[in-house]
């Protein structure tokens, strides 16, 4: 199912398909947040934002507004 990273549920895995290069920081790309890589949503902060993901074995937290710019296809429920 096609969606964006900010809409994943806790524990869901997805594959990154595309993103808006201008809207996400280069650092995130360097962490391995690139098309074709798998991403899993691990935690959502108590107040709903930010989220904590595992992408390319990098454990990072990003805000939802950034995650919304990253298109993914969900691979596990």
């Amino acid at each position: 199912m096609k969606t964006n990273l900010s809409l994943l549920k806790k524990g869901q895995k997805a594959v990154i398909t595309e993103f808006n290069v201008d809207a996400i920081p280069l650092k995130l790309l360097e962490m391995g947040c690139l098309p074709g890589n798998e991403v899993q949503l691990l935690q959502i902060a108590p107040l709903g934002d930010p989220i904590y993901i595992n992408v390319n074995d990098s454990h990072v937290s990003i805000r939802k507004e950034t995650a919304a710019e990253i298109g993914v296809i969900i691979i596990t429920e």
Binding site: M31, P46, P50, N56, H59, S61, T66
Partner: protein
């Protein structure tokens, strides 16, 4: 080769255990920058190498890549770009971690492109088996054009091998791993034509960074047909990153095998609890409570000992040295001055101990995660939590730790509000005032009233910081897109060695730095307090004698009266009296006024100044009273009330909670913001606010 110094740069992503490797190599032979006043930019240390030569190891700030997105990362690039820098390394040691090899190698391939002899350290090798990871080292060495040291800095394994590799750095390959220019051959070919003498990858870095690194003038590029727009450059950087990952993936496909079943889920379990919607915050608050309560109660024993020790030393010196100016200087100026610094070593050490444990264990990153949304509302960033908490030890390293906040606006606000948090220099002031005006009683059986007051002052500091941030966020018109990308490192048991070194080094740097200011001021204050202009000072004895005889006061009290009369007519007394009208409404007398003014250099000077003033004013050098006892006994001659009563005490506590009294912090803010405007705003804004609050408190309470 013996006698030669090999310059070694330690480079790596944050959280790969780079500092542990540094500590293993150098032990306590480290120099942390010498604040106050000077930024800690590069931590350096020396190590002995197996062939008898010396290694100079530079611990560079953690960075994810050579594309600088924060101040910290600029430091790394600046050094590696500039062959003429005196610290330019003979050999680069790139530290990676076995579990994050893929990502860590990104930086490694970039460093290789700079054609510096490079060694790859794969740290935390002891975890390999547990995590089901196997590495084909010869294959990796061949394909990455490097030599590899498998290291476990926690278990002190592999360090000798690393040292052997460092010694033979001349034989290391300087061939790049991959050819980044293939991402846009036309563009890179034309670049090569314009600057034939420059390394192509360096040129590329210069072009893509916002900072000018000085190896070529970036203006030379502008206006030529080769200029690219920012989005175009960013797309190329993205291409470069993808290309690097392709190379890394291809290499690791053969060189690394992972048995995924063995990955353990301790991290997930701990995260579930520590970032839980309720427990997460409860645990965080509990940890903070524990820290502040324990600082107050644990350090009181050594502090009392130090306090009494210095009072004794002062009396002993007075008794055993010939009376005279020099003895006076030592007894009244130098000993109380040094005592004023040494006394809060226990509290500083405890604070740094707790903070470095929180950082080392990986917990601090979870706090960043928990707090981002709250902090965002105040115009801050989750990462601002680290400076705010570190600020409880000292604002200087705290302000520097704001460097990893990528967004300028959030970083600036963080820098401006960090001095509100209760730093350890306020502790001696708080401690002494609290013990004078708050009874040492327990409420509900467990909470010490004095400890609670201290906790309240800390909360007041945080509150002040948040309020100021909220106001600045409304007032400042700076356009910057807010980004937040924070790594969540794996949990680790803090290493005793790392924590110990941090505590020792930071405490030492702090005491030496603040100590110089305090000692100098103590001597100056002693001089100004024991010298005065005019006849009033010179003929104090006769004037007092005549007056006392007239009033029928017994000769035993003359000495004391003379001393205090002299103090009042000394330079410091005159200055103090001059500012008295300004501080009277806050409930302070001129002696406190002098202490406040001199403590604009550094807060902890307050106690030392009072100690000096009361020592000069005091008659009896053999008297072993501590500074606290003298303050408690101080009576205002005009009102006949205690000088340190509840109203004036609270007023002073509030003044010290908010006023900007630290020259070193102002210097660091000037340096970090590169402008005099921001430190000036801090000084005027914070101290003005402090005056208003203290005034209000005293007028309501008196």
């Amino acid at each position: 080769m013996a006698g030669q110094t090999i310059k070694i740069a330690l480079i790596g992503n944050p959280n790969v255990g780079k500092t542990s490797v540094f500590n293993q190599l150098t032990g306590l032979n480290q120099q942390v920058g010498n604040y106050p006043g000077i930024t800690v930019e590069r931590k350096a240390g020396t190590c002995k190498l197996p062939d008898g030569s010396k290694g100079l190891v530079l611990d560079l700030p953690g960075t994810y890549s050579l594309n600088a997105s924060s101040m910290d990362e600029n430091v790394v690039i600046e050094l590696l770009m500039n062959k003429n820098d005196k610290d330019y390394p003979d050999v680069a040691v790139v530290v990676t971690e076995v579990e994050n090899l893929k990502r860590n190698l990104l930086l490694f391939t970039q460093i290789k492109d700079l054609e510096i002899p490079t060694i790859l350290v794969i740290n935390m090798a002891d975890r390999m088996e547990k995590k089901g990871i196997a590495l084909d080292i010869p294959y990796l060495e061949q394909h990455l054009n490097t030599r590899i040291a498998l290291v476990s800095s926690r278990k002190n394994q592999g360090i000798d091998h690393l040292k052997d590799l460092i010694v033979s750095y001349n034989g290391l390959s300087t061939q790049p791993c991959l050819n980044a220019s293939s991402i846009d051959p036309d563009y890179f070919n034309s670049l090569r034509k314009i600057f034939p003498s420059q390394l192509l990858y360096k040129l590329w870095l210069v072009i893509t960074q916002d900072t000018n690194f000085g190896i070529i003038d970036i203006k030379e590029l502008q206006g030529t047909s080769f200029t690219k727009t920012k989005p175009e450059l960013k797309r190329l950087q993205q291409k470069e990153t993808i290309k690097r990952y392709q190379f890394i993936n291809d290499t690791l496909k053969v060189g690394q095998t992972i048995d995924a079943d063995k990955a353990n889920d301790l991290r997930a379990k701990l995260d579930r609890v520590l970032t839980h919607r309720v427990f997460g915050y409860v645990i965080f608050m509990a940890i903070l409570m524990l820290i502040f309560q324990s600082i107050f109660s644990w350090s009181s024993v050594p502090m009392d000992l130090i306090d009494e020790g210095f009072a004794w030393l002062s009396a002993y010196t007075a008794e055993h040295m010939a009376p005279g100016k020099l003895t006076d200087l030592i007894v009244q100026g130098i000993i109380p001055g040094i005592g004023g610094v040494v006394i809060f070593i226990p509290q500083i050490a405890f604070l740094f101990l707790f903070i470095s444990i929180l950082e080392e264990s990986g917990y601090m990153s979870r706090v960043v995660f928990l707090m981002d949304k709250i902090m965002k509302r105040f115009g801050l960033n989750g990462k601002s939590v680290v400076p705010l908490i570190s600020g409880t030890a000292c604002a200087i390293p705290a302000i520097m730790s704001a460097r990893n906040i990528e967004n300028w606006r959030e970083r600036l606000i963080t820098i401006l509000v960090t001095p509100f948090t209760t730093c350890s220099a306020r502790l001696p002031v708080y401690t002494i005032l609290i013990s004078l005006i708050i009874p040492d009683r327990y409420v509900l059986g467990i909470f010490n009233l004095q400890g609670l007051t201290l906790m309240a002052l800390y909360l007041l500091g945080f509150g002040g910081a948040l309020l100021a941030a909220w106001i600045l966020n409304k007032v400042l018109k700076l356009k910057h897109k807010s980004f937040f990308v924070a790594e969540m490192p794996n949990y680790k048991m803090p290493l005793f060695k790392n924590v110990g070194i941090t505590v020792i080094e930071k405490t030492k740097a702090f005491v030496m730095g603040a100590g110089k200011i305090i000692l100098a001021l103590s001597v100056i204050i002693w001089f100004l307090g024991s010298h005065g202009p005019g006849d009033d000072f010179k003929n104090a004895e006769e004037i007092v004698k005549a007056d006392a005889q007239q009033r029928g006061i017994s000769p035993e009290e003359w000495d004391e009266m003379t001393a205090s009369y002299q103090l009042e007519h000394s330079y410091i007394g005159i200055a103090g009296k001059a500012i008295e009208p300004v501080i009277r409404p806050l409930g302070y007398d001129w002696k406190i006024g002098v202490a406040i003014v001199s403590s604009f250099a550094a807060r902890e000077v307050f106690v030392g100044t009072l100690a000096t003033i009361y020592n000069i004013g005091g008659n009896d050098a053999e008297d072993e009273t501590t500074i606290r006892q003298r303050m408690a006994a101080e009576i205002d001659p005009q009102t006949g009330e205690k000088v340190f009563n509840f109203a004036s005490g609270i007023s002073l506590l509030l003044f010290y909670a908010f006023a900007m009294q630290c020259i070193s912090t102002l210097a660091i803010v000037k340096k970090e913001t590169n402008s005099w405007m921001w430190p000036t705003i801090q000084l005027v804004g914070m101290s003005g606010f402090a005056y208003a609050v203290a005034l209000l408190a005293y007028q309501l309470l008196k």
